[in-house]
Amino acid sequence: MTDRQLVGKPVPRKEGRDKVTGQARYIDDLHFPDMLYGVTVRSNAPRGRIQRIEFENDAIPWSELTVVTARDIPGENSVALILLDQPYLADEFVNHREEAVLLLAHPDRHLVEKARRAVRIEIEPLPAIFSIEDSLNRKEVIWGEDNIFKSFQVEKGNVDEVWEGADFIIEGEYQTGAQEQLYIENNGVIALASPEDGVTVWGSMQCPYYVHKALLKLFPLPEEKIRVIQVETGGGFGGKEEYPSMIAGHAALLAWKSGRPVKLVYDRAEDMAATTKRHPSLTKHRTAVTRDGKLLGIEIDFTVDGGAYATLSSVVLSRGTIHAAGPYNCANVRIKSRAVATNAPPHGAFRGFGAPQSIFALERHLNKVAATVGLTPEEFRRRNFLHEGETTATGQVIHEKVDLNGLMERAFELSDYYQKRESFAEANKFSVKKKGIGFASFMHGAGFTGSGEQYLQSVVGVEATTEGRIRILAASTEIGQGTNTIFGQIAAEALKLDYDLIEVAKPDTGNVPNSGPTVASRTVMIVGKLVESAALGLKQTLVQGGFLTEDYTQENFQTACLAYIEKHGALKSFSQYKQPETIRWDDEKYQGDAYGAYAWAVYVAEVTVDPLTYEAHVDDFVALQEVGRVIHPILAAGQIEGGVAQAIGFTLFENVVWQDGRMANSQMTNYIIPTAADIPPIRVFFEETPYAGGPSGAKGIGELPMDGAAPAILNAIEHATGLSFNHVPLMPEALMLEMEKS
């Protein structure tokens, strides 16, 4: 047998050829006969009561248009996710400026756009709130009884007892802004719907079964009459986790009423303004330390702005809360957190999912703590890093081999940290431009939090086709990160077959089992493991049925599959997630094993601050991480590079300007993301300590790179300028204000 080892090899991306030749078909590339184009008419007030809707402009043939309001909804008017508080279409009240009120469709997409502008929705305004402070102070109560979607409290040891004996108590306050995912392909779907044939939706999405669940509430149909198919998706980053349920419902409602296929594709301005963004956050730290720099107690108060409806805020809050105390060993920790309501469009999933916000606060704060104690940032961390056998804030005992100090030293070698720390400080005395170097150390848990994976009970199938090929059946989507390729590698490795022999079925709820959502850095570690076990199950079936012996060639295997299909009709093997006995989690107390595994990382940023233009530029970036076994070195590095680039945007470029709860700069012209000219060399390094729970030892990596860049860069800016900035995005205006003062 030839050497078929595939894990760790940079095999070609499964759909790579289609992508580089322009043959890959995304939702806006599909065209159905008799198709209508849909548009969404939205609220024009941040909060209020709808008085009347008028159709102005007599030149528009209104009778030719399909018009859908809340009254046309055949099932329940709520987007099913966690709570049922968000309507598909506002009926009486609106709670944010982009809330959908009415839908229109027509065969002429220019006409329907003209019609959209001619609908006048008269809204009697109600007082609205736009900030975390106003929400916490209940300036107006806009959601539930107290504006609180969800709150958590994590307790470890007794933090109340540490303050008295502490040599230093250090406080700090940290803020992060909203961030737009800015996938280059906007949200879009095409729907077909009728009471007889049911509802079928094709779309750009991360989680077909989320959409399926939502449509099941919206239409009075049995499960099997609702079908959701993911088409090639031009990026997601969390932005296509929950929102596609909304747009799919809208298109399906128009299709249901018109009896024709309806395409609903957002343009950039609508996508940026109306769809979810990263939760803005406010974190307060209070830390007790000894004179020799040992952490005695950590108290953290973490709040995220959830926008007008609950959506995924509780889960985002959960991850942010659990990551808030970072990879440090501290006996006494209290984290209190909450997600609050404001009259902004709901904030949602975005790579990192709450962790970039709370880690930013921690990694900035610890530099302040170190300076107060009189230690370097690295020496302070060295004295407090978490080791094997010690416990996290939730009391999770770390059983993995983790060497954060070793990771940090290697990152420093790779970035020449010590030498630059000194030489920059010296050179800055004489140069106009100021250079600095800084770092952050952090971890990111892979998979759903706590009991989440147990609750999901994901399923993956592997089948043999009549062409003698192997096909993977999963709802996990390819959104650029490489799902198809990785799954192909894992199955080929498990079955000792050629990579080219493996195909991955299109995620279609009519054809694939629910392997859970494509989120939470879970696709490789959790779903990949199921691919591996389903593949092994398929082989086992052949061996036990006498069709195959353990020592087989690829030809033997194919022959055995065909013989099995000939005799039994089909050959499929399924595998369902079962939580390992060793993972324990208490949902009430928020204690226990929050994640099956963590990726550990130290990132180092080098910056130049220009005191004439007040620009901060990242000159070099070292990203070192321990992620278990790397399945595909190019895809893995691509995830880290892309994540770091997004995080650099989050830190220095991407400023959502709010005007009464509405994004005022919803254009690529004035919401700026890093270009090819802005990005520093991003030097990616992996340490590989195989994780027994992942396929071939892999852990999750997708979100990790979003976590560390912001604090590393602001730590570097502090080194360069001596100024301490505690909010992102840090725009030149803010730099100017502080630099002119000093």
């Binding site: 759909e15 806006d28 996938y183 490489g482 994540g643 690529m668 990005i679 991003i682």
Partner: protein
């Protein structure tokens, strides 16, 4: 001259083939390519000339087709992503994007490939600064650009090795 529907006949060459397009004078080249010719490899990302997903080559120049009124294409040589490979034979840039991981979600890729080809036509051996500047009009949200830079370098190496 516009016909009775207000549409103009616009003769031009698309991917080496002479065609006559029929469109309203201010129709965007992007829409005409996608809707009339069904060349959907050219993508719309922003509709305002910022992201470069709709990049095509117009008489050898890289343009954002969302900003080009169709009348400007009269008599022009237009190349879209569909015209880059020669049959089954991929262009060196396309091959390099596959080898180096230059494409992730793929939505910026057609524009990015054309931008890279345009860059290499002007400068067969660009240094890093030239690559960065040559691609600065094309946004990518997945890769952080690093693998795209590597793809361009690889394309140069592969082309040199052949010649």
């Amino acid at each position: 001259m516009p016909d009775e529907n207000g549409k103009c006949a616009v003769p031009c060459t698309v991917n080496g083939e002479a065609v006559t397009l029929h469109a309203y004078p201010m129709a965007r080249l992007l829409d005409v390519l996608r809707e009339e010719l069904r060349l959907t490899g050219t993508k719309e990302g922003c509709g305002e000339g910022e992201c470069g997903a709709c990049s095509v080559l117009l008489d050898g120049a890289l343009v954002n087709s969302c900003l080009v009124p169709i009348l400007q294409a009269e008599g022009a040589q237009i190349k879209t992503i569909e015209g880059v490979a020669s049959g089954e034979q991929l262009h060196a840039v396309q091959q390099a994007f596959i080898e180096c991981g230059g494409a992730q979600c793929g939505i910026c890729t057609p524009g990015m490939v054309l931008a890279a080809i345009n860059l290499l036509e002007k400068n067969a051996n660009p240094d890093e600064t030239a690559i960065r500047n040559g691609l600065a009009g094309n946004l990518c949200r997945c890769t952080g650009y690093i693998k795209i830079f590597e793809s361009v370098v690889r394309a140069c190496q592969n082309t040199e090795a052949k010649s």
